[in-house]
């Protein structure tokens, strides 16, 4: 190949390279990953709850307020009737470290289960006084 031809080709290659480097822009993006761990059961939310002191009133409506997360959950069992008065079957959950215990229904322990009626008292007042009576 003649020297002049090689020179022309080299210049053409430079021009093409220059065109390719005309400009560039960029943007960033995130890669969001969710990893499921099937061997670990989902932990319920925990928190601190307080209640209004109306248990001595007939027909009182007691409101339980949880400042962080969920301490007590009461809901209908799938397929079971849910009634706001006697006769329903309900699920419950008490955090093991909550400082509360169930009374009046032997054999119940903190954790998940099914219940129709229970009483809750604090360990600090172990004189039998009922703090909350919940029935349905």
């Amino acid at each position: 190949m003649p020297r002049s031809t090689r020179l022309v080709l080299a210049l053409a290659a430079l021009l093409i390279a220059a065109e390719g480097a005309a400009g560039a822009g960029s943007g960033t993006f995130t890669v969001d990953i969710t990893l499921a761990n099937p061997g670990v059961p989902a932990a319920p939310a925990t928190g601190i709850c307080t209640s209004q002191s109306l248990s001595d009133q007939t027909g009182a409506l007691v409101q339980v307020v949880c400042s962080t997360g969920q301490f007590v959950s009461i809901g209908p069992r799938p397929g079971a009737p849910f009634a706001p008065t006697h006769g329903g079957a309900f699920t419950y959950y008490f955090s093991p470290s909550s400082g509360f215990r169930l009374a009046g229904l032997g054999g119940l322990y903190p954790g998940a289960g099914t219940i129709t009626e229970y009483r809750v008292y604090t360990l600090d007042e172990y004189d039998g006084r009922v703090d909350i009576l919940v029935n349905f």
């Binding site: 005309a22 560039a24 993006f29 890669v31 990893l35 499921a36 761990n37 989902a42």
Partner: protein, 174 residues
């Protein structure tokens, strides 16, 4: 006396004749005006450019030790360039200063959930037609990775498994 009046009348007629002659000359000048024209150029310099839209996050949903690969979702974006301008794409791990041209694919291990993935571009070059063209950043995550997660579910955006390298860069070269 008669002679003086006659002389004034003669002078008046002469002045009127001159005025009429000048007016006629002026009218003749208007009707006989010439026109001239010239052409001029409109010189335009167009600096070609490309506009890259916001890029939707690339998302993976992975189960620890799962048997099959996981394909990513999201990663959509559009590019609009000057008509007929050729351009190309490249990927770059991290969010540092872009170093063109980037790569067609990158491999990253998320340092939050400790899962490795690969990002790819199905289309790496194109010639613009002046409209916004849609593209997608693809991603795959290999099977049988355990990852890092002390809970039932973790993500790389919150909590103990928050990642510091989940941001990557797309480069458009033109």
């Amino acid at each position: 006396m008669f002679s003086r009046a006659k002389t004034k009348k003669h002078q008046f007629k002469k002045a009127a004749a001159i005025a009429l002659a000048l007016g006629a000359a002026g009218l003749a000048g208007v009707s006989q005006a010439q026109t001239a024209s010239g052409q001029f150029n409109v010189n335009i310099t167009l600096t070609s450019a490309c506009t890259l839209s916001a890029i939707n996050p690339v998302t993976f949903a992975y189960t620890s030790s799962q048997g099959g690969i996981s394909n990513a979702g999201g990663g959509d974006f559009t590019v609009q360039c000057s008509n007929t301008l050729p351009y190309s794409f490249g990927l770059q791990a991290g969010n540092g200063a872009a170093t063109p041209p980037g790569a067609g694919s990158i491999n990253v291990t998320d340092n939050g959930v400790n899962l490795a993935y690969q990002l790819t571009l199905a289309t790496t070059s194109h010639t613009a037609d002046g409209t916004a063209q849609p593209y997608t950043i693809g991603g795959t995550m290999a099977a049988n990775q355990v990852g890092t997660c002390a809970l039932a579910s973790c993500d790389n955006q919150t909590g103990a498994t928050t990642s510091s390298n989940r941001v990557n860069t797309l480069i458009v070269n033109y």
